[in-house]
């Protein structure tokens, strides 16, 4: 799995891309796993308005991830 972070979240975590070798799980479980990486991670990943995309398509917390998936976490978009 490859996990990406964008915008303010990327800046807060200080990480843009994180390769992960974990067993297949749901997005919710991945978020819990990542939250354990430290206090920063816990608070930022707990944000209500955090969005997640799997393989570049927005999806919800119940999505079941596979080994080859690209997962991205990011704040609400502000382009245009």
């Amino acid at each position: 799995m490859k996990v990406l972070f964008f915008g303010q979240l990327r800046e807060q975590l200080g990480v843009a891309e994180l390769p992960l070798d974990i067993a297949p799980c749901s997005v919710r479980e991945l978020r819990k796993t990542l939250s354990a990486k430290g206090e920063n991670w816990e608070s930022f990943l707990a944000a209500d308005n955090l969005l997640v995309a799997v393989n570049q398509t927005i999806c919800d917390q119940n999505y079941e991830l596979s080994q080859d998936d690209e997962i991205a976490f990011f704040p609400p978009v502000t382009g245009g």
Partner: protein
């Protein structure tokens, strides 16, 4: 109503774009299409009462193009369009510089206005861009605007 497949052009780029050139290209595909509507978004010099000195635009390469292609395809389903052009810049931009261009041609003006506004409303709420605004010596990631959410939601009530 026949739904011809419009000519769709989507570009995410660091460089500025030439509005006149984009318009000319839309016009060249408009023999049957009497209406051209363009929207251009610029970096404003003020936001929330503060002086803005610049803007940094980040995006999610790959996903951005996917989302915009999907939006263009949805617009082509909803309206009978001749051409759709979407350009969005990324990287560092100065005040009054062009950020985004959406241009649409259609047979009648109502369709051209609706399609252009639909594309902008959903680009604002679905395309993975993030703006960091420079105000004097500090920089702030922008929050989403509720009015953008409302604008996008209105299309579902139609």
């Amino acid at each position: 109503m026949s739904k011809n497949i419009p000519l769709i052009s989507i570009n995410i780029q660091k460089n500025d774009f030439d509005h006149g050139l984009e318009y000319t290209q839309l016009k060249e595909h408009s023999d049957q299409h009497g209406a051209i509507v363009t929207f251009t978004g610029l970096v404003r010099d003020m936001n929330l009462g503060e002086q803005v000195t610049g803007l940094f635009l980040e995006h999610y390469p790959g996903m951005t193009e996917k989302v915009l292609q999907k939006l263009a395809a949805e617009a082509a389903q909803k309206w009978s369009l001749g051409a759709i052009t979407i350009i969005h810049r990324i990287g560092q931009l100065d005040v009054n510089q062009q950020i985004v261009f959406v241009g649409v041609t259609a047979t009648h003006r109502g369709e051209a206005f609706d399609a252009c506004q639909f594309l902008m409303d959903f680009l604002k709420t679905q395309a993975p861009f993030w703006k960091k605004e420079q105000r004097g010596s500090s920089a702030h990631w922008l929050d989403k605007r509720l009015s953008d959410e409302f604008a996008a939601k209105k299309w579902k009530e139609r």
